[in-house]
Subunit: 318 residues, 2 copies
Amino acid sequence: MSQVSVASGENPEVHISEVGPRDGLQSTQRIMATADKLRWIGALHATGLREIEVGSFVPPRLLPQMADAAEVVAGARLLPGLTVMALVPNQKGAGAALAAGVHKLTLPVSASEAHSMANVRRTPLQMVDEVRAVVALRDAHDPAVGVEVGISTAFGCTLQGPVDEDDVIRLAVRCAEAGAQEVGLSDTTGYANPAQVRRLFRRLRAELGERAGAAHMHNTRGLGLANCLAAFEEGVTTFDASQAGLGGCPYAPGASGNVVTEDLVFMFEAMGVRTGVDLSLLMQAREALARGLPEEPLYGMTPEAGLPKGFAAEVARA
Amino acid sequence: MSQVSVASGENPEVHISEVGPRDGLQSTQRIMATADKLRWIGALHATGLREIEVGSFVPPRLLPQMADAAEVVAGARLLPGLTVMALVPNQKGAGAALAAGVHKLTLPVSASEAHSMANVRRTPLQMVDEVRAVVALRDAHDPAVGVEVGISTAFGCTLQGPVDEDDVIRLAVRCAEAGAQEVGLSDTTGYANPAQVRRLFRRLRAELGERAGAAHMHNTRGLGLANCLAAFEEGVTTFDASQAGLGGCPYAPGASGNVVTEDLVFMFEAMGVRTGVDLSLLMQAREALARGLPEEPLYGMTPEAGLPKGFAAEVARA
């Protein structure tokens, strides 16, 4: 099949960061067994994905789905060329993640004061101090480990409503000053629109240059891919996505609703923008997910509709 | 409610052409009663929509759902400021539509030879002759009536696969030369991607200037809104959409899958691009649709998720 050349292609133009094993699995009722997680992560890696958020280091009583995070990190580290990432809410989580051997930490810092207090009982500025402490911890442990921040509720908040764009950018700059190597923007609530995405990423890139990080978009109101397109056109090259929209229907409300990896990769590949991901293998990786969580609904429009007639040949020719 | 000012706002920046009463209703199994169609069209008009495709003039044995097209046109003509549009596949349909009093005719001309032969048993070039004949008929009847062409399968065809972009543009130019006042591009098959949309509309506008017409996008692979965004950024100002994705789930394959009007209007209004459509009234118009076709599923992500907190105030302030 001609698409194999895509998966093995060097130098992708955009990087898809697969967050399903963390963002997806922490939202499901049932718990995926460690071996199944690793089988799925292996299948995702085989598609050409080179960054996977494999878990979060939080108290198991809060998120029992993530209790095996250290084991998953250890297993994922065996996959060649993979950046193994984990979410950590604080220093304690960061210490555990570093001990487990992650290549990259990601910290959520909310731009909405109301959301931040409700979620982590700290103000956004107190979270900046946490970032600084995590960076120090990382420096002591292994300076080669990456520290990334995702500014959550960057496009609006279900509690406070609109979030001031100046506040978002100021907070992102502070996180970078605190030592985060990359600072991305997350549409936690599915409120973003393409004009706002362009404005905010343009400002973020003007302030942070190469340290401006990923676009993490949700599809709550159907604008997920349009928002990724807008971010791409502003120069963003890293995009978070979740296979099969795991953990909540991205086509229904009140759900996690991450952008579906399959649809996002299809959009870019169809545009002639190389992702380094083999779409056929990505479709196949759904089987490993289904095997690990047999009753979980799998979403995605491209997997259901199939690839356009002649698509593989087109992509190979491009 | 502050959004009322939006509906009554002058000079919208983009025009939403509602195609649900034609494209949607001709795809449903059940037939909506004429009075219910007119109640729904009235509700759509009340939202601020100023162009509605109310039916198609085709043999009733082929599409019994459209058998009352003349009556619907007559009723819709009573709504002030509304451009009443109907689809006609040929001269015969055009004659009936003109007699019924439409303000605008739209003809589908397929760029794919295979699709054209399968659909209307004529080649694309034979369809250009049909356009010329319809324009002559219109001139004889009332030169004030508009004639629009939608180039179908402009972004790919389920029968022949990729469609040559030169062929699409050449055909569009021929349709304009044959007298069509506007020539738009339709993604009949849900194959389009944003890069292709930009390329084709850029070329279309370079060739036809102000006679470059609407973007008619489907959401088969989830890219409907991203494609509308790409078209908008190339200067397209008219977009076809269908309330509630009527006639087929836009989030599932094998279906009509028109872009959902509610989601499209939300995207533009959230971006600060005025549509002239009141989103709250648009949500309410779904009730008239549900009343006329009680068992038909209604889709749309914005209606299900609701508007973001503080959205109405944001829009009013913009």
